[in-house]
Symmetry: C2
Subunit: 148 residues, 2 copies
DNA sequence: GCCAATTAAATTGTGTACAATTTAATTTGG
DNA sequence: CCAAATTAAATTGTACACAATTTAATTGGC
């Protein structure tokens, strides 16, 4: 890259994640999953029912993105969506048996993608620590109420 | 994040770049630039005319993404698009005077976003090296056969 | 010289992302 | 109480991304 983007950390994050997600997307096609559907299934525990809002907090996505993804996962048969009895505003999401089953196969997809990179164990850990730090502590969360 | 996404390097890259790009997008609005328009302008040198294809190679984007972005940058007045005389298939892209001017203001935007992260100089360099390595040597071969 | 193969952009179709708005349900304060 | 404020999802509008296809120009083989 013979230009100013060399020094842009943001561009490197953007381009790298895009390329890795492209690898995932190809490998996920046999399971009828997109990358967004994949992380949604990963974020759901086996026996929990969570709201769209909480799922969105785990994934850094809002209902505008999640609603169509979850509707498609429901059609495919991996999740179910049910209005909460206690609070009719909430939609409760949970994995079906098929969803739990497909989730067990997904670590293999992740392993295949990671094997394509020659990244060392040490680099992997470094990367994780730095990114978790930026994500969790530095960047302002959208819609967060300003402290008085 | 109390779930399996903890260990997913890809998810961390994805979520972090998304959040950082959201910061850029807000700060770029006064210049009538989206993030994609921003990296396109950064990738253009002052006095060069390059094709959509070469720009796409620098940005890891194809004509399907770039064509509408470049058309909008042309309307805004930052670039010009001209059919190549030597090869009528090619579209030559180059910065206008306004494009060169706005580009000089952009490092300030980048500085503002980076200031929000508490990332250290050392971490910054580590991150850059690892990401460049993944991006340039490991991943983006579109026709690569599946790993062994 | 001619036509098949290749190439560069543009176009098409699907699927995110996210801001902003809308709708419906719940909570709160006077 | 009960209208106003708040909240959760869904919807709307804009802007990517990328695979696949189309269109038009160039190249290559014979």
């Amino acid at each position: 890259m013979p230009n100013h983007l060399d020094n842009q950390l943001c561009f490197l994050l953007y381009a790298t994640s895009k390329e890795i997600i492209r690898q995932y997307t190809m490998l996920l096609k046999p399971y009828d999953l997109t990358y967004t559907g994949y992380i949604a299934i990963l974020a759901l525990e086996d026996d929990e029912q969570i709201t769209v809002k909480e799922l969105g907090q785990r994934l850094f996505l809002d209902s505008g993105t999640l609603t169509p993804v979850l509707k498609k996962l429901e059609v495919t048969g991996y999740v179910r969506r049910e209005r909460s009895k206690e609070d009719e505003r909430q939609m409760k999401i949970y994995l079906t048996k098929a969803g739990i089953e497909v989730r067990q196969k997904l670590p293999e997809v992740s392993r295949q993608v990671m094997n394509k990179t020659n990244i060392s164990e040490q680099q992997y850990m470094q990367l994780k620590i730095v990114l978790q730090d930026i994500l969790q502590t530095d960047l302002p969360i959208k819609d967060e109420k300003p402290g008085k």
